[in-house]
C-alpha cells in the first residue's frame, strides 16, 4: 500500500480551478518534487496534504486511512514553510520543542529529542537565540529541525531554499537528499527550480494549471519530456514544429525550414495534422569545423550555419548557430583544454542523433 494517496483531488478559488482532479501516490521514503511555475497549484496541493487547505472534492489517504477531513494538528505530516514561519517570541530551542510539547510528551523526552535534532543539524550552538538574530541559512535549519523533530511520516517542504544564495542552496540540497535517505521519511518538495527538482527527486511531477503534465523520474523527464512546456521548463532546448514527410522502419523524416529532421517515431506522441513537435537539447548537438558528409546511419541529422553568439559559462560554452533560412539552433559543448576557440561568424557543421530528437505531444 502506498504511504500517501491522492485521488481526484480538486480545489478552486472562485471559478478558477487551482488543483484540477489530481491523482498521486507516494511510497515510503520516496522523494517527490512538485515542479512548476508560480500559480500552478503546487503549494496548494502541498497545503492540502498538510491539512491547511481542504479539497473541494477527492480524497487524501495516509496508510490507506482517509484523512481528507482531518485537521492539520492531527495529521502525522509536518511542513517546512517558505517563510520558515519561526515563532518570533521563542528562542531556537523552544521553537523546535513547540511541536513535541503539543504532543504532551514528558519534559525529559522533549529535551532529549530537541537536543538530538539540534546536534544532527549543527544548530546547538545558537539554541538560545531568537529567530531575528539568525542568518537566513540558520533560520532555514531551525525550520527544518522544527519539522523533523516531530518524526513525521511525510515531510512537506514549500520552496524552503528560495531565500538562500546559490552555493548554500546546492549544499543544502545535498544534505536534504542525504537526510531523506537516512531517515526514510518521505519528502514532498515544492519548487520552481528545475535543477533543484532534479537534485532532490526520486520522481518529479511537473505541474501546470493545476494538473500534472508529466510524473516520472528526473532522467526520464529531462530526456523524454512529454510536451513543449515540460521540455522548455527543464532546460534550454531547440523546439521544432516540423511537417512530417515520410516514415520508414521506425525512422520518420520531417521538414522544418531548410532542415530535414530524422527521428524515431513514438506512437504515444502522434502527429497532428501532419505536423510533429520535436525537442532537441543543445548538448546533443555536435559541432564540427569541417564539412560533414551526410551518412544516414552515423549521423542522420546534419546542418550548417554561422555562429551568431558565444556564451562562455566555464564548464561549457553555449553557441547559437544561424542557418541559411534564418532559423537559429542552440548548441553547447563541454570546454576541454587545448581546444581551439570557436569564433563569431565562423561557419560550422552540426550533427545529431535521431534519438536526440524527442517527439512531443501536441499542445491542446
Amino acid at each position: 500500500m502506498p504511504l500517501l494517496q491522492l485521488a481526484g483531488v480538486c480545489k478552486s478559488y472562485g471559478a478558477e480551478p487551482v488543483v484540477n482532479t489530481l491523482d498521486l501516490s507516494v511510497e515510503n521514503g520516496e522523494s517527490i518534487v512538485l515542479l512548476g511555475p508560480s500559480g500552478c497549484g503546487k503549494s496548494t496541493l502541498l497545503r492540502m496534504i498538510a491539512g491547511l487547505e481542504t479539497p473541494d472534492s477527492g480524497h487524501i489517504l495516509l496508510d490507506g486511512r482517509d484523512i481528507t477531513a482531518l485537521p492539520p494538528h492531527q495529521r502525522p505530516v509536518n511542513m517546512m514553510f517558505q517563510s520558515y514561519a519561526l515563532f518570533p517570541h521563542l528562542n531556537v530551542r523552544d521553537n523546535i520543542a513547540f511541536g513535541l510539547r503539543r504532543e504532551g510528551l514528558p519534559a525529559s523526552e522533549v529535551s532529549a529529542r530537541t537536543a538530538e535534532v539540534m546536534a544532527m543539524l549543527e544548530i546547538a550552538s545558537f539554541a538560545t537565540r531568537k529567530p531575528h538574530q539568525l542568518s537566513g541559512g540558520q533560520q532555514q535549519r531551525v525550520a527544518l529541525a522544527r519539522a523533523l523533530v516531530k518524526r513525521p511520516r511525510i515531510l512537506l517542504l514549500d520552496e524552503p531554499l528560495g531565500a538562500l544564495d546559490k552555493r548554500l542552496r546546492q549544499q543544502t540540497q545535498a544534505e536534504l537528499r542525504k537526510l531523506n535517505r537516512q531517515t526514510g521519511i518521505a519528502f514532498v518538495f515544492v519548487t520552481h527550480d528545475n535543477d533543484e527538482a532534479m537534485a532532490l527527486a526520486d520522481r518529479i511531477a511537473v505541474m501546470d494549471h493545476g494538473r500534472f503534465r508529466q510524473l516520472d523520474a528526473p532522467r526520464r523527464i529531462y530526456d523524454r519530456p512529454i510536451d513543449r512546456f515540460v521540455a522548455s521548463l527543464m532546460a534550454d532546448t531547440n523546439l521544432f514544429n516540423a511537417a512530417v514527410e515520410s516514415g520508414s522502419g521506425g525512422l520518420v523524416s520531417a521538414r522544418s525550414g531548410i532542415l530535414r529532421l530524422h527521428y524515431s517515431a513514438d506512437p504515444e506522441r502522434s502527429t497532428r495534422n501532419g505536423r510533429q513537435e520535436l525537442s532537441l537539447r543543445p548538448e546533443q548537438i555536435e559541432i564540427s569545423r569541417e564539412p560533414l558528409e551526410a551518412v544516414a546511419n552515423v549521423a542522420p541529422n546534419i546542418a550548417t550555419g554561422t555562429i551568431t553568439d558565444i556564451d562562455y559559462i566555464g564548464d561549457k560554452t553555449g553557441i547559437s548557430v544561424r542557418l541559411d533560412d534564418g532559423q537559429v539552433l542552440k548548441a553547447s559543448q563541454l570546454n576541454a583544454l587545448h581546444e581551439p576557440l570557436l569564433e563569431l561568424d565562423q561557419q560550422v557543421w552540426l550533427c545529431w542523433d535521431a534519438d536526440a530528437l524527442v517527439p512531443l505531444r501536441g499542445q491542446e
Binding site: 492539520p72 515563532f87 511541536g99 519539522a147
Partner: protein
C-alpha cells in the same frame, strides 16, 4: 546635524511652547503660597491637602477603575475587530463596518457624548461608572483596532499555520503564537485607551451620573470656581502618570518595529 545658534533657538522656542505651561503647573504644585501665581517657597503642602481630600481621591479611584476596565474592553473589542478585518477577507458590509469602527476617532467628542447619552437614556440604563466605562471603551476600541490591525497585516499568516501543523488546535495556535506576536501592539493599544479614558472630560461629563465623577470632571468643575493650588498638584500627578504610560507605549511600539527588521 550641527547645532547652530539658530537651531538651538528654534529648539528652545519649540520646547518652551510645548512644555512651559506644563512646567509652570508642575513648579507651582510645590508652591507654599496660597496664591497660585506667586512663589512662596517649596512645600508639599498641596499634596497633603489633596491626599486628605476624599472627593479628589474618590474621583481619582473612579478614573483609574474606569480607565482600566475601558482599556481592557477596548483592547478586546478592537482586537476582535482587527482580526475580522484582516482574517475574514471580503464580507458584505466590510467597508461600511470599517468606517463605522473608526467613527469615534473622527467624530467630535460632543457628538459622541450626546449620542451615547441618548442611547443610555432610551435604553433606560442608569448612568454611572459603567456608562462612562462603555463610552470610553467605544472610543478606545477604535484606536486599538488601528494599532492591532497594523501589526496583524505585517504578521506572517504562516505563523499560525505552522503552529497548527506542529500539533496545536486552532485556539491554542492563536493563543500560543498569534497573541504573543501581537502582544506589543495589544499593550500599546491598552495603554493608549487607558490614557484616553484618563484624559477625557467631555464624554464623561455627558454620561456620568451621581457618584461617578471622574478626576478630570472633578478638576474641571473645581476650576470653574477658580484655580486652587491643589489642582496643580493633581495635574502634576496626572502628567506623571500619563507620561509613564505614553513613554511605555512608544518604547513598546519601537521594539515592535526593531524586532520586525
Amino acid at each position: 546635524m550641527k547645532l547652530s545658534r539658530v537651531n538651538i533657538a528654534t529648539l528652545a522656542f519649540g520646547l518652551a511652547f510645548l512644555y512651559l505651561p506644563i512646567l509652570l503647573v508642575v513648579v507651582f504644585s510645590f508652591n507654599a503660597s496660597k496664591l497660585v501665581t506667586v512663589w512662596g517657597g517649596f512645600s508639599l503642602h498641596w499634596y497633603r491637602v489633596l491626599f486628605s481630600s476624599s472627593a479628589y481621591l474618590e474621583a481619582a479611584l473612579h478614573s483609574l477603575q474606569i480607565g482600566a476596565a475601558a482599556a481592557t474592553l477596548a483592547t478586546l473589542v478592537g482586537t476582535l475587530g482587527a482580526l475580522a478585518f484582516t482574517r475574514l477577507g471580503r464580507f458584505p458590509g466590510r467597508q461600511v463596518l470599517a468606517g463605522l469602527m473608526l467613527a469615534p476617532m473622527v467624530l467630535p467628542e460632543v457628538i459622541l457624548g450626546v449620542a451615547t447619552l441618548l442611547l443610555f437614556v432610551s435604553l433606560d440604563i442608569e448612568r454611572g461608572l459603567l456608562t462612562v466605562m462603555f463610552t470610553h471603551a467605544t472610543l478606545g476600541a477604535a484606536f486599538v483596532l488601528v494599532i492591532v490591525q497594523a501589526k496583524l497585516v505585517g504578521l506572517d499568516p504562516d505563523l499560525e499555520a505552522a503552529a497548527r501543523d506542529l500539533g496545536a488546535g486552532p485556539v491554542r495556535a492563536f493563543l500560543l503564537v498569534t497573541v504573543p506576536a501581537l502582544l506589543p501592539a495589544l499593550v500599546a493599544g491598552w495603554l493608549l485607551a487607558f490614557t484616553l479614558s484618563l484624559d477625557d472630560v467631555v464624554l464623561a461629563s455627558f454620561v456620568n451620573g451621581p457618584g461617578a465623577t471622574t478626576l478630570p470632571v472633578r478638576v474641571y468643575s473645581a476650576v470653574r470656581l477658580g484655580v486652587s493650588p491643589e489642582i496643580n498638584a493633581i495635574s502634576t500627578l496626572l502628567i506623571a502618570l500619563v507620561s509613564v504610560f505614553v513613554i511605555a507605549a512608544s518604547l513598546l511600539y519601537k521594539r515592535t518595529i526593531v524586532s520586525r527588521n
